[in-house]
Amino acid sequence: MAQTQTTATAVARPPITAFSWKSAGIAIGALVVFDVLINVYERLYAFSKGLDYTSADYESYWMGMLFAELVLEAVTAAGLWGWLWMTRDRALDRLSPAEELKRYWALGLFVLTYTYAAYAGASYFTEQDGTWHQTVIRDTDFTPSHVIEFYQSYPIYIIFGVGSLVYAMTRLPQFAKAFSLPYVILVGSPAMIFPNVGLNEFGHTRWFMEELFVAPLHWGFVTFGWGALAILGTWLQICPRVLSLINHIYYGKPIQSPAEVMKNPQSSVDPAACAACAL
């Protein structure tokens, strides 16, 4: 086979330990534990302390939680995004193939963590909000389930989504000098679900107190949820470059330099270029 002739390459290989699941395991594990604890809190105090907005209990058990989480989320977002930006790679055109492949792995785990957080927010906690609303009377926009769904689970996935995008833009040549249409949709569209809460709450406050889930008032959430499909285009951009890197590092096949990719990222997802270096 021709491949056996390309065994010895001068390209440095990354250690196999660099492709560990550990960081995603810790991040997703922490999110799962956090989500379970939040569910326990909700079971303990939603019905017992969260049915009367004017009560002192409500103030301490739910509004206190709301203010605390908003502050924590703002600090976390600023800290994470700021750190990613401040530690950006300023010499991406000289990035080694091994380092680039390791960074794609890190990006994959970042995106995986984002998608878990998006699942928890847009699927689990959003339908849990339906459980709550169709069971009790609404007397405030900051009802217990909203304190968790809108103001906690949504910002968490936004933090991870934007964080992954900033990571890609600051550490990978493919995303350094151009905006990826599908990636921006993948992160930006679900992120817009959070601002859409403003419309939702105004509508429910002004003219629509009951909770018909299929009401047109909710369709903004629906439209922004469609952006999840853009993960398909995002992976279609990333996979050819990852394949090229693997082929280059392990089989010695030619590859576009980081400088070329930065100059013309579209060429790195060209199916013809990808086919030329396929396994």
Partner: protein, 254 residues
Amino acid sequence: MQYSQVDAEARAIGRKFDLVVLLSTFLVLIAGFHVHQMLVAGDWSFWVDWKDRNWWPIVAPILEITFPAATQAVLWTKFRMPIGATFCCLGLLFGEWMNRYINFYGWTHYPLNMVFPETFIPAAVVLDIVLMLTGNWVVTALVGGELWGWLFYPTNWVMIAPYHLPVEYQGALMSLADVINYMYVRTSTPEYLRIVETGTMRSFAGGVTGVAAFFSAFVSVCMYVPWWLMGAYFFGSTKFFKTYEATPVEARQH
């Protein structure tokens, strides 16, 4: 030996990337598809008394062929994987059951037979098979879309049938599902009988389900086409836009 080690290492890393792609796609499609489904057809999905023979077979299929069509457009044309529809619908069912069991049943204590979700898996398998056999998305829209609409009610019938049995309750004729609805208080849930099943919907006896499925199949075909196109050319796009700084000076001047 050296080649084997290098090859094994490369393949192991490739498989890890495959797993990341699969898992992340599955999770985020649950998020997007579920939020879409619950806010365009969710009330029919939440409650057994909403699962009627007229509107449910229309609303649910035409609004849920969306994500399967878009996902098929990429998984089939780029990866030759005929699983796009099943992949989406499995994720949707997972997302629905997580909440129905943990929250509707475990938190607010409604019986599971009042809040179980519908299934699209049989219809999705058929949609994928039609695409795989024909290899043509237009034929899949025409044939698969029709089958998608037609199959929804029969494939859910086993679960629904017991609740459509007629009963006399306080002198009125209603279904078992209606009686369950009256037994469990849902303070802010709009009553189905009040807002949807009105007028001739109740009294126009005989054959309405077939007509509903026929209509549903027609609209499912119509929905499949734009969603396939959106999947292929928008959500599956690999377009990059250059930043202002990266745009050549000559181009900026024009």
